[in-house]
């Protein structure tokens, strides 16, 4: 009974010296209504214990008390802030990487463009585009290397971007020489007759540059040769210049990133 305090010292000596025997005697099944009720209560108690243990084990938020919930909420908010910071850092990193990718793609495109223009300038790639074809017939052998050089200068003045003399691609270092047999060589290669010059650039400008009074056409005719200038919408220069590695000149610093 739940009133043990009321009887602190029971009549133990009078009730038999063996508590175990007493317990066994009371434990014998007795088919009384009260015993059945007690059994039912014990069953209920066992059920409640098991249920409560299960509930405690699987306890979730709804069983927590208010201050625990507040603490949990606080913790979750702290975590939230920390993770938000992390998100920002990672997003900044991602943006940085993305812009890096875009930047490197742009740099690659610029480099490719630069490679193209440098290749055309250096004569290492074939070029095509609008331009003029100049044919100089020289039956009297009056055309000299300086005349062809003048023609080249005139073409360059007029904005020619790629020029080929016969099958010699004209680059910055191209030179013309008079051969002993009356022919002309460009870069050491004898030019075939008639002299054929292909220049890519603005066709109209190039053609008019040739016809300037006192210019190339006049000079050529003066030495008894004939000149024929043909404009064309699409010319192709197949001649290539072979680059030699410079023996003496070395670049001073990084080449400037911008191309012409």
């Amino acid at each position: 009974m739940p009133e043990p305090m009321a009887q602190p010292e029971p009549t133990r000596p009078a009730r038999g010296d063996n508590g175990w025997r007493q317990l066994a005697r009371m434990a014998r099944p007795r088919a009384t209504k009260a015993n059945f009720l007690a059994a039912m209560l014990a069953l209920l108690l066992g059920f409640a214990i098991a249920t409560q243990v299960h509930q405690t084990q699987s306890s979730n938020l709804e069983t927590l008390r208010e201050d625990d919930l507040v603490r949990l909420l606080d913790q979750v908010q702290q975590d939230n802030g920390r993770l938000g910071d992390e998100i920002q850092v990672l997003q900044a990193q991602r943006n940085q990487l993305q812009s890096g990718v875009a930047g490197s793609a742009a740099a690659r495109a610029a480099a490719a463009q630069r490679l193209d223009s440098l290749g055309i300038l250096a004569g290492t790639v074939k070029a095509h585009g609008p331009g003029i074809t100049i044919t100089i017939r020289d039956p009297k052998d009056g055309v000299t290397a300086p005349l062809l050089l003048d023609a080249l200068e005139e073409l360059r003045d007029a904005g020619a971007e790629a020029v080929a003399y016969d099958d010699v691609r004209v680059v910055a270092g191209t030179y013309f020489t008079d051969d002993d047999n009356g022919g002309i060589s460009a870069d050491g290669k004898p030019l075939g007759l008639p002299y054929t010059i292909i220049a890519i650039g603005d066709a109209a400008t190039l053609a008019s540059a040739m016809d300037i009074p006192g210019g190339v056409s006049d000079s050529v005719r003066r030495v008894g040769a004939s000149i024929d200038v043909t404009s064309s919408a699409n010319l192709t220069i197949n001649a290539l210049h072979t680059i030699r590695v410079p023996r003496y000149a070395r670049p001073v610093s990084e080449p400037s990133p911008t191309s012409s």
Binding site: M1, P2, E3, P4, M5, Q7, P10, T11, R12, R15, G19, W20, Q22, L23, M26, A27, R28, P29, R30, T32, A34, N35, F36, L37, A38, A39, M40, L41, A42, L43, L44, L45, G46, F47, A48, I49, A50, T51, Q52, V53, H54, Q55, T56, E62, T63, R65
Partner: protein
């Protein structure tokens, strides 16, 4: 003996069914279990004292559970639910300890 079997069967049922405690009962069930345990230990002690009575046990069991639950309910209403729960658990725990001590003296004479 029969109540002991009942207790074991109840635990088995609870373990197998794994029922969810209804929300309204959740604050009261732990306290009710402690109170019922107090009643059970008190009954064992009464058996050893030779003053056990089935009817008294049933009534004390039920009244213990009801009073404990009511105290917690009242504490919740008054805003001191957690403190009062702790107090009830302490009181019942002390009683369980003293009952167990008495049982121990009966059984082991120590």
């Amino acid at each position: 003996m029969i109540p002991v079997i009942g207790l074991i069967v109840g635990i088995a049922i609870g373990v197998f069914l794994q029922p969810d405690v209804p929300l309204g009962l959740q604050p009261y069930l732990p306290i009710a279990v402690i109170a019922a345990l107090d009643a059970v230990f008190g009954a064992v002690r009464a058996v050893l004292d030779g003053i056990f009575n089935d009817k008294v046990f049933v009534i004390s069991f039920l009244s213990n559970v009801v009073v404990a639950a009511f105290i917690v309910f009242l504490g919740d209403k008054l805003g001191v639910g957690s403190q009062l729960s702790t107090g009830v658990v302490v009181v019942l725990g002390v009683r369980i300890f003293s009952n167990v001590a008495s049982i121990r003296r009966h059984l082991f004479h120590a």
